[in-house]
Every structure is written in C-alpha cells, then in structure tokens.
C-alpha cells in the first residue's frame, strides 16, 4: 500500500509575513517551515502505516514549492516518511488554487503510475493561504472520494471512517480506498523527529521533479495564467493601543461597563 502525504512549505506565522512587489506571498525572504497543520497529516499517515502491522506500506511526502520548500519534505522524512518528492519549477511561482491542485494531482498520478496510490493525506489548511480547498480540489481532479476535515480517522481493510465537525453537527463519513483524506489539528498530536529519525532521513530517497516530468507545460500554471489576480496588498495599520486599567477593589468591572456603555453596547 502506498500513501502520499501533501506537505506545504509556508512562511513562519510568527515571523513578519509579507508580499513581493508582484503581490505574491514572499516565500523566500521570510523564514519558512513545514506548515504546522501538515504535521498532523504526516502523523496520521504514519499512524495509518503503524496500525497495519505486517502490511508493506510506504509513505511518500510530496511538496510543491521553491528550492527551500524541500525543508518541508525533509521534516516529514525525519518524522518517519519513507521517501520524498519535491516539485520545483520557476514556472509554478504564483500559482493559484487551480494551478497548485493541478500540479499536485499530476504528481500523485505519476507516483500512482509507478507504484500505485491508495491514500492521499492533506492538512486541513495551509497556514498561509488558509483556503482549506486544495484537498477537495485534489479529490475532484483525481476522481477519488473526498474524506476531509477529519478529527478522528479509523480504517479497516479498504474501508475508512472519519469524524467531521460540520457547522451544526458532527458527522461520520465513510468511503472505500483509494481516497483523499484531510485531517484537522484535533486528530492527535504530531510526533517530534527523534535523533535516530533525523539521521535516518539523510539516507532516504528524495526526488526532484520539474513540470516537464509531470507532462505539464509552463503556460498551464503560474502567476500569468492564474484564474484570479491579486490587485493590491496593504499592511493593516497596527491597532492603536487602547486604554488599559488595573482592577483594584472592584474598580475594573465599573470601568469596563462604563466603556461598553459609552460605545452603546449596553
């Protein structure tokens, strides 16, 4: 059985994230890392493998992104993935959801043609774009069942069941492998790479593919053919610090309520 886990390299949320002059996300000038939310995807992929003792299962970590994005794959290998694929090509820069999901789908199909793919695992959202759309789009393109936003994942044989929190309800979703799965940060803590894991990762196979390896042309993806364009990006002016009072002998409650009344909230 083969599992592909899609991991994204994102600008660190605690750093000063910003945009380039062409309004694309600055992915080079800001320190990046494996999206924290994709660590949960790696964890669930590894648990899927570990729960099926005796079965031959490989986990391949897949990323699309600039040179440095390989760090996201390395981290996944350190956590325990078996092999990595990094799709990098200047033409991909500035791709929108349609472009990104197309390249991801082609990469999964290439892995599938070589070795078969039974399960594609994604995070619930990338911490930079926060779209939560790529897994659904990947399912659409691959023609696989979409089993997304799982807080609990269970499987037996080729049957997978998940729990998903919807707007007004919690649902149990069932499907038959192969599927596209996405998991939330409720699905279980992600492991840290062990020293042994870090050493072992250095020897694991890691391939680099370009667009032509996927049978795609430069004019099918990237900023110039994106289906939507960002016209402007502006830093939000920092909120001006408001009034801060210290509660002494119950004075805080009165001051708070006076403030709320002055703003007509009461």
């Amino acid at each position: 059985m083969n599992i592909v886990v899609c991991v994204k390299y994102v600008p660190d949320a605690t750093a000063d994230r910003k945009f380039e002059d062409d309004n694309t996300v600055d992915r080079v000038g800001v320190d990046g890392l494996l999206s924290e939310l994709d660590e949960y995807a790696v964890e669930q992929a590894l648990q899927f493998r570990e729960k099926r003792e005796g079965e031959e299962i490989t986990v391949t970590a897949l990323t699309i992104g600039p040179e440095k994005a390989v760090d996201a794959v390395r981290k996944a290998l350190q956590m325990g993935a078996d092999s990595g694929v990094h799709v990098v090509d200047d033409a991909i820069a500035g791709s929108d959801y349609l472009g990104t999901s197309l390249v991801l789908a082609k990469a999964v199909e290439k892995i599938k043609a070589d070795a078969g793919v039974d399960l594609v695992v994604c995070g619930m959202a990338s911490t930079d774009a926060s779209g939560s759309v790529v897994p659904a789009m990947l399912a659409e393109r691959l023609g696989m069942p979409q089993v997304t936003l799982a807080s609990v994942v269970e499987s037996q044989g080729d049957q997978v069941r998940i729990k998903r929190d919807n707007e007004g309800s919690t649902e149990v979703i069932g499907a038959t492998l192969p599927i596209v799965l996405s998991v939330t940060d409720q699905s279980g803590e992600a492991r840290y790479p062990s020293f042994k894991g870090i050493m072992a990762a250095k020897k694991k196979p890691l391939e680099t593919w370009s667009l032509s390896d996927l049978g795609l042309d430069a004019d099918q993806v990237g900023l110039s053919v994106a289906y939507s364009q960002v016209e402007d990006t502006t830093a939000r002016p920092p909120r001006t610090a408001g009034e801060i009072v210290t509660d002494e002998d119950g004075s805080g409650a009165g001051a708070l309520v006076d403030f709320l009344a002055s703003k007509k909230f009461i």
């Binding site: 349609l98 789009m137 919807n166 069932g174 009072v245 403030f259």
Partner: protein, 317 residues
Amino acid sequence: MSEVLVVIDHAEGEVKKPTYELLTIARRLGEPSAVFFGPPDQGDAVAEKVRKYGAAKVYVVDDAQIKGFLVAPKAEALQQLAEKTSPAAVLLPSTFENKEVAGRLAIKLGSGLITDAVDVADGGVTTQSVFAGNYTVQAKVTTGTPIITVKPNSAAPEESEGAGAVEAFAATISDAAKTAQIVATQPRQSTGRPELTEAAIVVSGGRGTGGDFAPVEGFADSLGAAVGASRAAVDSGWMPHAFQVGQTGKTVSPQLYVANGISGAIQHRAGMQTSKTIVAVNKDPEAPIFELVDFGVVGDLHAVLPAATEKVKERKG
C-alpha cells in the same frame, strides 16, 4: 442583467443571516438568484424570506440525492445550474463545506476561485483579510465565472423587494459523486445563544478560566452575546471544538469581542483580529492580547466578570 447565484445557508429551512448579507452583496454584481438545497416542500417558505432581500428567482434543488454525501453532489448540481444560467458570479457563505464545494466547482467550470472574502465591490473586486488579519488583499477573478465564498458579517443586510419566483431545478447526480457517504449525523445541541460567527458580540474564555466558564457565560448572557473559547480551553475539554475561535476554529468579526483569560497567540488573533472593538480581561499586564485592545482590564476574570455582569444587569434594569 445577469443572474448571480447565491447559495442559501440554512438549517432545516431556517435561513441564516449570512444569506441576506450575500444577497445584498450580489445586487452589486447583477440580479440575485438564490439556490436552495433542501426538501422541495420548504421551497415556498424559503423563497418568501429571501425575496425580501432581492432574490428574483429561487432555484429549489431537491436534496434527497445530495444530503447523504459529502460535498461532491452539491458541486455537481451547481455546475449544472451555472451551465444553464451563465451567471455573472456564484457566491457562497464561507463555511468549510461551502469552500470545498466552491473548490470543486472552480475546477468543473474552469473558473477562478476566491475564498473568505470580507467584501465584494461592484465589478467583483474582493477584499480579504490575510496573515492573521495583518494584511488586506484586493483581488479579482480574471477567468471564467467568479466563484467567491464570503465570510459572515461582511455586509449589513439591506431589504429590497424581489420577485422570488420559485423554480424547481432537477440536478443529475452521478454515481462518482456519491463515494463519500455520510454514515451518521449528530446535530449539535443548541445553546440558546446567538451563533458564534453571526453574533454582534462574542465573549470568549481561555486557559485563564481554569475550566470554570460560568463567569464568561454569565457575562455573555448579560450582553446577549455568543460564547467563544481559545484552543487551550478546547484542548482541555472545557468547551466543545465548535466554540473555538482562531486559525483552526471559527473566524469571528463581531462589533465587540471580549477575550477573558486569553493570552492572544497569533493563531487566536487570526480568528478575531478584525473585530470592530476588542476588550480583554487578563491578569498579566504583559499579555500580548493587550496590544490589540480598545479597552483592557488587568485583573482576575473571576472577580471582574461577575461584578461586570451585575452592573450590566443594573443598567439594563
């Protein structure tokens, strides 16, 4: 004028406020046609409601073949409806489910997709709030039918009489779209409080509550507010996940947000930074949340909130 498809957000035929916001926004782009996924016998009642906000047509899509499956059938139905009506845009309330529907629809129609808009102007230019609210982005779909998901509280609903002509739309759902089955559904119990994402006021509690949410809930009720929680409070099992505010919970943008015993981590800010007025109660004067507030109280929430609740009640008489 071209039609603009607006997907109705509802629970059992009870139309939710974001629908009216979307219909208001849709009128800037064309003539709104509301799309109702639900039992056909609820169509007339729903039409009567959305008509008041300018819906010229109401497409009723029988959900008998749709509701038992995740996302894919809805995308298929919308594709067929879009092919029939050639709309100027498709607008959906920004829920996780609708974003996934929108993503699949974008591929089916070969159209651009914009998620989580907080405004859509004439001409279809969207505004989004990104990087935990630190940046504002203006964007536009340049290819195909713009598909835009819009966050709650993005516009004030404005009434406008529409014809509300009900039209049944028979979608053909393929077997391929029925592969992720909803095996069981457990509806969440209503708290009797306003819905988190729609509320004008949200009062939240974090780790600082120490697990006792009574002061937070009491204060919320005195203000008629929704209750929210930080992930620390959810992870501790004090509040269900549905109440979580932040990057991996709900994004709220109320008139007033009151954070109690919440430090203000970047992931929490991502879900509340665009609130109009922000207030915090925290015993640590160095807590980062105070960088955001319009008004802050350095103090113990267990003392401040019950006293404030009494004072609010006094004022309201």
